[in-house]
């Protein structure tokens, strides 16, 4: 684990590099190249917790598009991450393995980051949670379509794979839930970063926008919305810390569910405070709104996770506390 000072330096470096890239590129800044230059894969290998925390938070805060999620999931699945290896993610709102194997036939359907369009190979996990297999398929057997959706800039792809299952290897059943857990934490950090920026934007607007002869930040109705947004962001931070300090599929699932709830709460309050300007494409708020809508569904939406957890509480008739003092 890195110390507080090292961490602050690292955060500053990552944020600065991303901001520079976004400021200089006319369009389509290559954030993956920026991360590669910063030594992202080495950071991920040496200090995965810090690397994921710092990088995904920074991506969320700047609304930057990258494919680093593939590296996080690939490494959790026991593969050495590399730029020409994409990962097939589950369908929107789901988290079961996206592929299935029938005799030697591999079929899969899911989402992917923009890396799916350029990578030579794609890592596909197949089967059930209790009996997972992993296949490294050539992307020549993948049908990769850009997803416009709510956030065309997110670079997400809808992918169908139909090819041979030759070379499939059996995975330890604990590995897929672990990969999902790490992916969930990464996305939740990204949402935390985006939430902070949305709140900053709304706060700045409330202090600058004058109506009825005073900044709207003086109105209690406005203040309380922003306060509720901060409460939601801080609840997410706490859940993320718990998921980091007690790493397991349950704490990660809860962190991701809190992230989803926080995303919607913060977006709703900040949009209302930003009012007219926040409804236009002139103001940057809308980009964050679109991004959190898209990413809320990666590795399971809050609603889907909460339903799953609730079913388990009722099936086992037991409420575990998960974290202690």
């Amino acid at each position: 684990m890195i110390d507080t000072h090292e961490r602050a330096v690292m955060e500053e470096t990552v944020r600065g590099a991303i901001a520079d890239a976004l400021a200089t590129a006319r369009e389509g800044a290559n954030i993956d190249a920026v991360l590669a230059q910063l030594g992202w894969l080495k950071m991920l290998d040496d200090e995965p917790d810090d690397a994921i925390d710092i990088v995904f938070r920074a991506l969320g805060a700047a609304n930057a598009t990258a494919t680093a999620l593939d590296d996080v999931v690939a490494s959790a699945l026991g593969q050495k991450p590399r730029a020409d290896l994409a990962v097939l993610l589950p369908r929107f709102a789901a988290w079961d393995p996206p592929g299935r194997i029938d005799a030697d036939d591999l079929q899969a359907e899911g989402l992917a980051t923009g890396r799916a369009a350029t990578a030579r190979e794609m890592l596909v996990v197949c089967g059930t949670e209790s009996e997972p297999w992993s296949v490294i398929a050539s992307t020549t057997v993948a049908d990769v379509q850009a997803v416009r959706g709510v956030d065309p800039d997110a670079g997400l792809r809808a992918v169908r794979v139909h090819g041979s299952a030759a070379g499939a290897t059996r995975l330890d059943p604990a590995v897929w839930p672990k990969a999902v857990a790490l992916g969930r934490r990464a996305v939740a950090y990204q949402i935390a970063g985006a939430g902070r920026t949305m709140l900053d934007l709304a706060r700045t607007h409330a202090l600058e926008r004058v109506q009825f002869g005073r900044p709207i930040a003086r109105f209690q109705a406005v203040r309380h919305r922003l306060a509720d947004a901060l409460v939601a962001v801080e609840a997410l931070e706490a859940a993320l810390t718990a998921a980091r300090e007690e790493p397991n599929p349950d704490t990660a699932a809860l962190a991701k569910a809190v992230a989803g709830r926080t995303a919607h709460t913060v977006a709703r309050h900040c949009q209302q405070v930003l009012a007219g300007i926040g409804f236009t494409t002139e103001h940057s708020f809308h980009r964050f709104l679109m991004r959190v809508l898209a990413f809320e569904g990666i590795f399971g939406s809050a609603d889907a996770i909460v339903l799953d957890i609730g079913r388990r509480l009722l099936a086992e008739r037991r409420v575990p506390t998960l974290i202690e003092l």
Binding site: R203, A206, L207, P215, A217, R218, F219, Q220, R223, H224, L226, A227, D228, L230, V231, E234, A235, L236, A238, A239, T241, A242, L254, A257, V258, R261, D303, V306, L307, D308, I309, G310, R311, L313, L314, A315, R317, R318, V319, T321, L322, I323, E324, L325
Partner: protein
């Protein structure tokens, strides 16, 4: 250095072994009298066994160690249904005040009596015209004769309200107005008053769940010795504010342990369908985020020795999670709260109704949001 996990294991093993002696003699909720008697009995057993003294300073009869030992004890009792956490955790808002602000010999004399259950104390803060706006309190204290700096006796006149357990209490930590009427937080002084002093009248108030947990307390020419002053003359605001770190850390953790126990009880009887799964799942999600937040707050307190305005976030989360938990009971067990006269119905009804106050006591939800806006978001004054 005490390992908290080892301590917790040792504590739970002891509570398990002594369960029969500690368990309530009534089915929950029992009456308030039942619960107060139970709390005193449990404290007395734990005091004799040496557990109550853990985490308290040796100069007041404690056995030392980090305050988190107290938190673990309160949470273990709440998680096992041995005491009402609202009653038990009152020590956290009363004893530290005395330890930090009373003359040392007084603190050494009275704190062990609170810990052992020999005495109960109450907190005389709120007044009819000083609720959220505590600094406007008017209950008046004046020197019996002569100058305030040299007076040996003070005379108190006025009224307090929402004073929890006043009718059971032996002493009161009382805030009084000693400065000019408009002196706000600069003119408040705290006293430690014996409740049997002539001139004190306690009139219990009936809460909407039928219980008499709090009271109006009237003071008519109540004479208190100057050596019962807590802190400095006109320094009562600091005394009042010093309670916050304890209330927002240890007390909340105990409450959270209790809420997990209640959610546990709910999932044991809730229907096994997807609507119920969504409702209990949502309550669980909120409790988890709250527990994670409270854990971080307590570690920060242990490391830095102080916590402040950021605990308004903890307060919003605990109030919201508590109401969500009892709303889940109402939604999943139709008629339980509204119509059921069984012991279970009495318990859920009483606690559901009490949970409606979670966004009111200890600083309303609105006051917390005002603090968050001003102090944490730095939105400036709202005037």
């Amino acid at each position: 250095m005490i390992n908290l996990a080892d301590y917790r294991a040792e504590l739970h093993a002891w509570l398990e072994a002594n369960h029969d002696e500690l368990a309530p003699r009534f089915a929950p909720p029992g009456t308030l009298d039942d619960r107060v008697i139970q709390m005193r009995r449990v404290k007395s057993i734990l005091f004799d066994a040496g557990w109550m003294q853990r985490g308290w300073p040796e100069r007041v009869g404690g056995r030392g160690g980090p305050p988190m030992l107290r938190t673990e004890l309160g949470a273990a009792l709440a998680a096992r249904g041995l005491t009402d956490p609202g009653l038990f955790s009152l020590i956290e808002v009363l004893a530290p005040t005395i330890i930090d602000f009373a003359p040392p010999e007084l603190a050494a004399e009275v704190v062990p009596r609170l810990l052992s259950g020999a005495e109960l104390w109450c907190q005389g803060f709120s007044e009819p015209d000083a609720g959220s706006d505590l600094a406007s309190l008017r209950c008046h204290a004046a020197p019996e004769s002569g100058d305030a700096r040299t007076a040996t006796k003070w005379v108190i006149n006025g009224q307090k309200v929402w004073t929890s357990l006043a009718q059971f209490s032996d002493r009161c930590v009382l805030l009084t107005r000693t400065g000019p009427p408009d002196s706000r937080h600069r003119g408040i002084t705290a006293f430690f008053v014996d409740m049997r002093t002539p001139g004190i009248t306690v009139v219990p108030l009936e809460m909407l769940n039928g219980e008499l947990e709090f009271a109006e307390v009237f003071f008519a020419d109540v004479v208190v010795s100057a050596d019962r002053m807590l802190g400095e003359l006109n320094g009562g605001w600091a005394v009042a504010m010093s309670i916050l770190p304890y209330e927002r850390s240890s007390c909340f953790w105990q409450r959270i342990a209790f809420l997990y126990r209640r959610l546990q009880r709910l999932v044991e009887v809730a229907p096994d369908d997807d609507r119920a799964a969504e409702i209990v799942g949502d309550a669980y999600l909120q409790l988890h985020a709250l527990r994670a937040r409270s854990r971080a707050t307590q570690h920060r307190l242990a490391e830095t020795g102080t916590i402040g305005a950021e605990t308004s976030i903890d307060k919003v989360l605990v109030a919201t999670a508590e109401q969500t938990t009892y709303d889940a009971v109402r939604r999943l067990l139709p008629g339980m709260i509204e119509m059921d006269d069984s012991v279970a119905g009495e318990m859920w009804r009483s606690e559901y109704l009490y949970s409606r106050a979670a966004t009111i006591y200890g600083g309303t939800a609105e006051v917390q949001r005002n603090i968050i806006a001003r102090r944490l978001l730095e939105l400036g004054s709202d005037e």
